[in-house]
């Protein structure tokens, strides 16, 4: 279809245009993509031995980052939901940005899983029909399904909205019948992917830190804190550098969600820590290793306390109106801190210390290798590259700068 082609062309050409800072950012990402291509090649030929993973600590940084991207992907739906549930028109217009973030982060999560697998060339083994999917039993099979469906739902939703706005026919009364159900399904599906990811971890009885009922709640609240933090940062950037109008109430709603999430997260952590530490059985060994170290192995202790201080501090900071309304200084800072605290909490609290002690009593420290680090940065750079380009194009459509010109095949934004 000619319209589709011109949509693609206009979208892309708007997406890659920008000022000096924009190109600097893209070049910065391109550097990591370049270096990461080489380290990814090393990993795909030599295997996971280039990472720091061992039989004792079997999950590497990719898995930790995968869980984190599931956080953000699940929570991006929190931009969409208020617009549809509470009829907030200002949020409804920005809903598509939430869906874009969700879509890109789910794709990033799937990429992290590919890097985590020992044989990504055998991924086709899990496709039912071609291979064999251990469906009712294996939690990873469920996760594969829900992640791909979520990606598909958001892809459909985003494409439909953007295309319709591009051609100017996005009016409430003229929307396809399947559109609203798809959006509501995507809103419900967001927390679902995160609950299933939590179950992938919680289904392992032998990891004392994970085999707990609070894990889905911890994940959802951390999603609620980290996802909107990213959204706030993106909205603040968009407000500053693009023509998109984002009102203060939108930012305030996101901030409220972050604050509530952090508060509930602290309750969840308290419940977990109390249940483990009061009787101090063998189940608590991993947590004590994380909090206090074990017989001289202290690597994770500063991370634990640092993350806790960051999260509690951020929560307290967000209680102050001055911070919440400081859109130029304190709020972006708090959002950065929350985002990175939760990002670092994943490997340093959730994943690596959880494996010690192993069932046979070994304690191990995990040392990330350079190749692994660059592969992680490679995937993050790809994620942010796509996020940037697609969001730029989306903003262009939302502000009306990218519009289909019916009079000629060329659009108004010809280079």
């Amino acid at each position: 279809m000619k319209t589709a082609l011109s949509f693609a062309r206009d979208f892309s050409s708007f997406a890659i245009k920008g000022g000096r800072m924009y190109y600097a950012w893209l070049l910065f990402l391109a550097f990591f993509i370049l270096v990461g291509s080489y380290t990814a090649y090393l990993q795909f030929t030599q295997g996971l031995i280039v990472t720091g993973a061992t039989d004792q600590v079997t999950m590497e940084a990719f898995f930790a980052n995968f869980v984190f991207t599931a956080h953000v992907a699940a929570a991006a739906v929190l931009v969409v939901a208020p617009g549809y549930f509470y009829h907030r028109k200002d949020l409804k217009e920005l809903a598509v940005m939430g869906e874009v973030i969700a879509m890109v982060f789910v794709a990033t999560g799937i990429t992290f899983v590919l890097f985590h697998m020992g044989r990504p060339d055998r991924t086709w083994h899990i496709i039912p029909g071609l291979g064999y999917m251990n469906f009712p039993n294996s939690m990873l099979a469920y996760d594969t399904i829900v992640l791909n469906v979520y990606l598909l739902l958001n892809l459909i939703g985003v494409s439909y909205i953007l295309f319709k706005k591009y051609v100017g026919t996005f009016h409430e009364k003229q929307l396809a019948l399947w559109f609203r159900p798809i959006v509501f399904l995507a809103i419900a599906w967001g927390p679902l992917i995160h609950i299933v990811t939590a179950f992938v971890l919680a289904s392992n009885a032998r990891v004392g830190m994970w085999a707990t009922a609070v894990l889905p709640f911890a994940f959802l609240t951390m999603a609620g804190a980290s996802g909107p933090s990213l959204v706030v940062l993106i909205f603040l950037l968009a407000r500053k550098y693009t023509k998109l109008e984002i009102g203060d109430p939108v930012i305030d709603l996101m901030t409220t969600i972050i604050a509530w999430s952090l508060g509930i997260l602290m309750l969840v952590f308290s419940a977990e820590f109390f249940t483990l530490l009061y009787p101090s059985t063998e189940h608590a060994d991993s947590l004590k290793y994380n909090m206090f170290g074990h017989n001289g192995l202290n690597m994770y202790v500063p991370w634990f306390w640092g993350v806790m201080v960051a999260l509690v501090g951020s929560f307290i900071a967000l209680l102050f109106r001055k911070v919440r309304h400081s859109y130029d200084r304190f709020l972006p800072l708090v959002c950065f801190v929350v985002f990175f605290a939760i990002l670092l909490e994943k490997p340093m609290m959730l994943i690596f210390p959880a494996f010690s002690p192993t069932p046979l009593g070994e304690y191990a420290e995990y040392h990330v290798t350079l190749i692994e680090l660059f592969n992680v940065l490679f995937v993050w750079a790809l994620c942010f590259l796509f996020l940037t380009l697609i969001l730029k194009g989306t903003i262009g459509i939302l502000t009306g700068e990218v519009r289909h010109d019916k009079s000629s095949t060329a659009s108004q934004n010809d280079a």
């Binding site: 291509s37 090649y41 494409s159 206090f292 074990h294």
Partner: protein
């Protein structure tokens, strides 16, 4: 819906791109990162032992199996212990007749084989007639009585014959070694047994272990797990030195090396720390 394909196309192109583009740097990367497959030591150990050092020796023979060409045994580089048997029945003879005992304690001796002990006994193999080479009544006269007395021979096996490390003073040499027929062992009823069947002597006092041994619960049997299948049984003196059992039931061994530490761990000191700390 053209933009559906753009992100995935870019990703696919990127993936193919790095694969193709980095192929040229493959040699550099591969040789830099990969270590050549090293063996610990190129020469395999040939003089091995099974259970007791000096009394259960096996020599490694290459290409012992005609079909696969593997050796008869594979031994440890660190300790010389036999780790792996190519043919579990090499060098074995039939166990011989064993007394019938009732149901639960019957052993399955139909297909039982053992490695003969006689070739492993140092003094037995010093002369052409075994121990009789010296203990023929002439070179060494037969003892007039079997009462315990100090003996100044074979002190490398038993240092002090009046303080034999077996039975806390209840036993001495001639309680087990036949006085007139040193190639055989003897029990309290005067029955004589070959060194290849020590279980008949040991079992006459150590009934519990003997019964467990017959059932397969004590001791070692290799070969088939199938009931009635061919098995090589370890006899008592292959594992236990009857002259020192009071000091140590089973001689202490040097262990095989520990596993490599997980990557990233410098040492395993944490597991030896005295204070648990929590």
């Amino acid at each position: 819906m053209a933009n559906l394909h753009i992100p995935s196309k870019i990703v696919a192109l990127a993936l193919c791109g790095f694969l193709m583009g980095a192929l040229s740097t493959h040699e550099l990367a591969y040789s830099a990162e990969k270590k050549p497959a090293e063996t610990q030591s190129t020469q395999p150990v040939t003089d091995c032992f099974e259970s007791r050092i000096g009394y259960s020796a096996v020599t490694r023979v290459e290409n012992a199996d005609p079909k696969y060409g593997y050796p008869n045994v594979k031994c440890s580089q660190t300790t010389g212990a036999v780790l792996w048997f190519g043919d579990p029945f090499a060098g074995t003879i039939r166990m011989g007749e064993m007394p019938e005992i009732t149901d639960d304690t019957r052993g399955d001796f139909t297909n039982a084989v053992v490695k003969p002990r006689e070739p492993q006994l140092m003094y037995y193999n010093m002369g052409p007639n075994g121990c009789q080479s010296c203990h023929d009544g002439k070179t060494v006269p037969y003892p007039k009585s079997t009462k315990p007395r100090l003996i100044t021979m074979h002190q490398d096996i038993v240092e002090n014959s009046l303080q034999l490390m077996h039975g806390h003073g209840a036993l001495w040499c001639l309680n087990c070694h036949s006085a007139k027929n040193r190639n055989h062992l003897v029990d309290r009823q005067g029955n004589e047994f070959s060194f290849n069947q020590p279980q008949k002597l040991c079992g006459s006092c150590h009934g519990e272990n003997y019964i467990d041994w017959r059932k397969g619960v004590h001791g070692k049997r290799i070969g088939s797990w199938v009931t009635g299948g061919k098995r090589r049984w370890w006899v008592c003196t292959e594992c236990h030195n009857p002259h020192t059992v009071q000091a140590t039931r089973f001689n202490r061994l040097k262990p095989e090396p520990p596993p490599h530490l997980p990557r990233g761990m410098k040492n395993a000191d944490y597991e030896r720390a005295k204070e648990s700390g929590h």
